[in-house]
Every structure is written in structure tokens, then in C-alpha cells.
């Protein structure tokens, strides 16, 4: 099982890692049995032209290299996107942006898009 260079880059130096203290939405997915838990925090700003835009996003993850790399990647992909655009980011988009994941990881450690959707749902509920 080999990871792409992009996965290793995001894993060893994750982007947007940490906590947002007053988030507008939070999503947590995964479970300790599989070994991966992910939490995404978002801040949403209203933009006159574009509508609701994710202005800040951070993550916390307990998991393997691929779990950390996909978390990091989704924060890059979702930042400055509208919530409609962000909801459309799929597992495949994340895997593709990382130049692929080992087949076994596609399912077990690629939960980041679900964590993001959960955070957006949470934001909508709180609205």
C-alpha cells in the first residue's frame, strides 16, 4: 500500500488544522471502531453577490494518514466556497485532489466530505 506524494504532504503538514472557537457549524463523523474520527468547524459569512460563503474552516482528526490528509484537503477545497458549492464536494473529489488513495482507504478513511456536509447541516439548523 503506497500513498501519493500529495497525501504524504497533507498528512505531514496538514492545512487548516485546529479549532474555531465560535463556529457557525460543526460536524463530526466516524467511530473509534474503524479508527477514524473527524470533526470540521466552519464559519459562514454572507456575501452580497454569492450568498453564504465558508469564510473559515478547520479540522480535528483522530485517524490514519489518509484520514488526516483527506481532512486537510477538504478544508482547502471548501474554503471560500458557498455552502451550496461545498455540499457538492464528493469523496471522489477529495481522493482525486490528493492524486488518489489506496483502494482500501477510499471507503474507510475518506469521511471528510461527510464531515463537511454535517457541519453545513449543523449551520443550517442553527440559523
Amino acid at each position: 500500500m503506497q500513498y501519493s506524494k500529495e497525501v504524504i504532504n497533507h498528512f505531514t503538514a496538514p492545512h487548516n488544522q485546529g479549532v474555531i472557537s465560535n463556529p457557525d457549524g460543526v460536524g463530526m463523523v466516524g467511530n473509534p471502531t474503524c479508527g477514524d474520527l473527524m470533526k470540521i468547524y466552519i464559519k459562514v459569512k454572507k456575501d452580497a453577490k454569492r450568498g453564504e460563503v465558508i469564510s473559515a474552516i478547520k479540522f480535528e482528526t483522530l485517524g490514519c494518514a489518509s484520514a488526516i490528509a483527506t481532512s486537510s484537503m477538504i478544508t482547502d477545497l471548501a474554503k471560500n466556497k458557498t455552502i451550496q458549492e461545498a455540499t457538492k464536494i464528493t469523496r471522489d473529489d477529495v481522493a482525486e485532489a490528493l492524486n488518489g488513495l489506496p483502494p482500501i482507504k477510499i471507503h474507510c478513511s475518506n469521511l471528510a466530505s461527510e464531515a463537511l456536509v454535517a457541519a453545513i447541516e449543523d449551520y443550517k439548523k442553527k440559523k
Partner: protein
């Protein structure tokens, strides 16, 4: 080690000892004869194999005819279990139908996969009844459980000597004594097999004292080459070959002998025998230093398996709030090689069956790290490792934050 790399995965494999390599080299291109050939080329190979056999016989305190060379411990374990079953079935077929019995095998829940999968498959094919002995939080089986598990139709007991993941030692010689006693009363003797792959370098391997009929081992765990191993087969043990072909190895293992590999194994055993006591002591001291230091200086860590009934070279730890594959790859990026029981590293979806058998929670099994020492390990390497480990843990624990705690508090 080269490039300042620190290798702490000796339970996975070891480098070939320089002396072993030197002894092997002529047997690739100069003395390349087939040990079964009658001409001088063949005789030279056969002589070299003979000498290696004697080295092993001396080490295991048996005769040369009781040493069967194989391709490694996986093959030895397959041969031990399937070969005993095949011999039993051959005999069983001769009996009247109402006297035929389905044989029973006893093993443990935390054997190496080559034993576990062999037994599971035979059970699935309805060729055997199977009992798994449980293992307790200390990583050791209980003899009372074994005694209770023995049935009238018990054919074979297969229990590993030292567990490959957590390094815990099973009471092999005590089991041997118990079986000798039980077998006295039985007409059909129970055969006792142990997978001693991880034990050979550090523990008593006198097969008479252990009371085993079959013992598996592999050369590459003791600074010999990969692709060669041995099955000790006590004289008189009812076993047949499982691989059809020539009559090599007393008709128990068909196939041209791997003469260079066997020469390597013979030399590796000789070198091991010479230094075993000294090295065991040195490695044990290093292990204790490492365990003490980590338990004292690292937070939220547990040692998996008994501290005392443990191989001198094994340290298996679980760290909370980190996942093993991440830990392993961060250490690897820092030039340190170790191993983990996390699912992710193994290419399967489940964490280590060994750690779960000890009663660990899945996240504890996912967060495990196995460090295994060897004869080239130095204290300096361990000091560097501990410093690196602390840094890596700090980094990964920052990434995971309080997520696990939160998960459980929400679940309540």
C-alpha cells in the same frame, strides 16, 4: 544502521549477519549442486546441508533426522498442522466407518495468521473440530483452560511459544509435561506443536525439556536469510508430506533443497548459540530501559501484555488519541522503523486480533505501536527514538484534540 536510520522492527525481520552471508555466498555460484545429485557438485551441497542440519540438531537437542528444512515458519506451520491431519486421515480411512472419528485440534485465539487461518479453513471444510483457547489481559493462556479443552478425539495442540505482536511467552514446557502425563493414559497420543519463530533467539529451545513433538522456526528472525526455515519433527510423530513431489527431507518436504539458504540458517544458529546468553541479557536491559522511560515520561500510554512473561526484545504500547499508522509514518519520516497493530497498516479493516483478544478497545488496538529490539540496537538509538516519539505524539495529539472524549460524551 545506514543513513542514520533506526530499525526497531526486528520481530518483523532481521538483517543477515555478516558472517552468515559470507558462509552462504559460495553456495550460489560455486557450490551450486543439487543436494540430491550423486556427483561431486551434489555431494558438496549435500555435505553443507548435512553440517547445517547438525548445527540445528545440536541447538535444538535432537537428531539430524528430526530436522526438516522448509521455506520458513509459514510452511513449517502448514506442514505441522495439515501433515498431522493427513496422516491421521490416512489411518482413519482404514478403520470401519463406525470407528472413524473427526479429529479435534486445539489452538489459541492469538496465533500467527498462518496457524489461525490453516485451522479455520480446516474447520470450515468440516475436516476438524476446533477449540480456541482464550488469552487473558496479560497475554498468556491458562493451562487449566487447555486441560478442560482436551477431548477424546484431540489430535493436535498448536500453541505459539512467543506471540509475535505482544511478545508474551506461553508456558510450553509446562504444557509439554502435562501432555506427557495425559498421553501416558491414552492410546491415541495427542501431538504437541509450537510455533517458536519469535522464541528461538531468546528462550529455551531444548525440545526434550519443552516436551514438543513439532516445532517451527524461521531463519530470517535470527539474522539468517529469508525463505528458509525448519520444522522439528520428533521421531515417531505421525505426519506426512503435504506437498507432493520428491522424497527430500525424509519424504516430508518435496522440493530441491535451498542449499545456500540452509547453509545460512545453519550458520545463523551457530552464531546465535555462541552469543545467546549475552545478547539476551543486553537486549532485556535495553527493553526495560525503554519501557521504564516511556511509562514514566509519556502520558496516556499502556504496555500491552505481561511485563514479566515477555520476550526480551518486545515492547508493545498503546497510546491514546493517536492512530498507529499515523504514528508509524511520522516515525518513519523521522528515520525510525517500528510496527503497529492498527488495521490501516495491515491492509485489512480490523485492528489486530491479538490486541482485541487481550480485551483492548478498538481505538487502543488502533493506537498501538510495536517496538522490537535486536542485537544491533543501541541505547543511543533508543534515546533518539524516545525524543522523536514524544514529538510525534505531541503533534498527532494536537491534530486529534479532544475528539475521542467528545465522541464518548455525546454517545452517553
Amino acid at each position: 544502521m545506514k543513513n542514520n536510520k533506526i530499525y526497531l522492527d526486528y520481530a518483523a525481520t532481521t538483517p543477515v549477519d555478516a558472517e552468515v552471508l559470507k558462509t552462504m555466498l559460495p553456495y550460489f555460484s560455486e557450490e551450486f549442486g543439487n543436494a540430491s545429485s550423486l556427483h561431486s557438485f551434489g555431494r558438496n551441497s549435500a555435505d553443507a546441508v548435512f553440517n547445517a542440519r547438525l548445527n540445528l540438531a545440536h541447538f535444538f537437542k535432537c537428531t539430524g533426522e528430526e530436522i526438516v528444512f522448509t521455506s520458513g515458519a509459514t510452511e513449517s506451520n502448514n506442514l505441522a498442522i495439515k501433515g498431522v491431519l493427513r496422516a491421521y486421515n490416512k489411518n482413519n480411512k482404514k478403520l470401519p466407518a463406525d470407528e472413524r472419528k473427526k479429529p479435534h485440534i486445539i489452538t489459541t485465539v492469538f496465533e500467527h495468521s498462518c496457524v489461525l487461518k490453516t485451522c479455520q479453513k480446516l474447520e470450515k471444510e468440516k475436516k476438524i473440530d476446533l477449540t480456541y483457547l482464550p488469552v487473558y489481559s496479560d497475554g498468556v493462556i491458562k493451562i487449566a483452560d487447555l486441560e478442560k479443552a482436551i477431548r477424546e478425539n484431540t489430535l493436535l495442540i498448536s500453541i505459539m511459544y512467543v506471540n509475535n505482536e505482544i511478545g508474551t511467552v506461553q508456558p510450553i514446557s509446562q504444557i509439554g509435561k502435562l501432555l506427557a502425563h495425559i498421553n501416558e493414559q491414552r492410546e491415541e497420543k495427542i501431538i504437541f506443536h509450537t510455533d517458536a519463530t519469535q522464541a528461538v533467539a531468546y528462550f529455551d529451545t531444548n525440545v526434550k525439556r519443552l516436551g514438543v513433538d513439532l516445532l517451527s522456526m524461521s531463519a530470517h528472525k535470527i539474522y539468517g536469510p529469508k525463505g528458509v526455515g525448519m520444522l522439528y519433527v520428533k521421531k515417531g510423530t505421525k505426519i506426512t508430506q503435504i506437498q507432493d513431489g520428491g522424497a527430500q527431507e525424509f519424504a516430508l518436504r518435496a522440493g530441491t533443497l535451498n542449499s545456500a539458504g540452509i547453509v545460512g540458517l545453519g550458520k545463523a544458529i551457530e552464531v546465535l548459540e555462541k552469543n545467546k546468553k549475552k545478547e539476551t541479557k543486553k537486549i532485556k536491559e535495553l527493553r526495560d530501559y525503554l519501557i521504564n522511560k516511556i511509562l514514566k515520561e509519556v502520558s496516556n500510554v499502556r504496555l500491552n501484555g505481561s511485563r514479566s512473561k515477555r520476550s526480551p526484545n518486545n515492547i508493545n504500547l498503546s497510546f491514546s488519541d493517536v492512530e498507529g499508522e499515523s504514528l508509524l509514518l511520522y516515525l518513519d519520516a523521522g528515520n525510525i522503523a517500528a510496527s503497529t497493530g492498527s488495521a490501516c497498516s495491515s491492509g485489512s479493516l480490523n485492528p489486530s486480533h491479538v490486541l482485541l483478544a487481550l480485551g483492548l478497545k478498538p481505538e487502543q488496538a488502533h493506537g498501538s505501536l510495536r517496538i522490537s529490539l535486536g542485537k544491533y540496537t543501541t541505547k543511543k538509538e533508543l534515546i533518539i527514538f524516545i525524543a522523536k516519539l514524544k514529538k510525534v505524539l505531541e503533534k498527532l495529539r494536537k491534530v486529534s484534540g479532544e475528539i475521542l472524549k467528545e465522541y464518548y460524551s455525546k454517545k452517553k
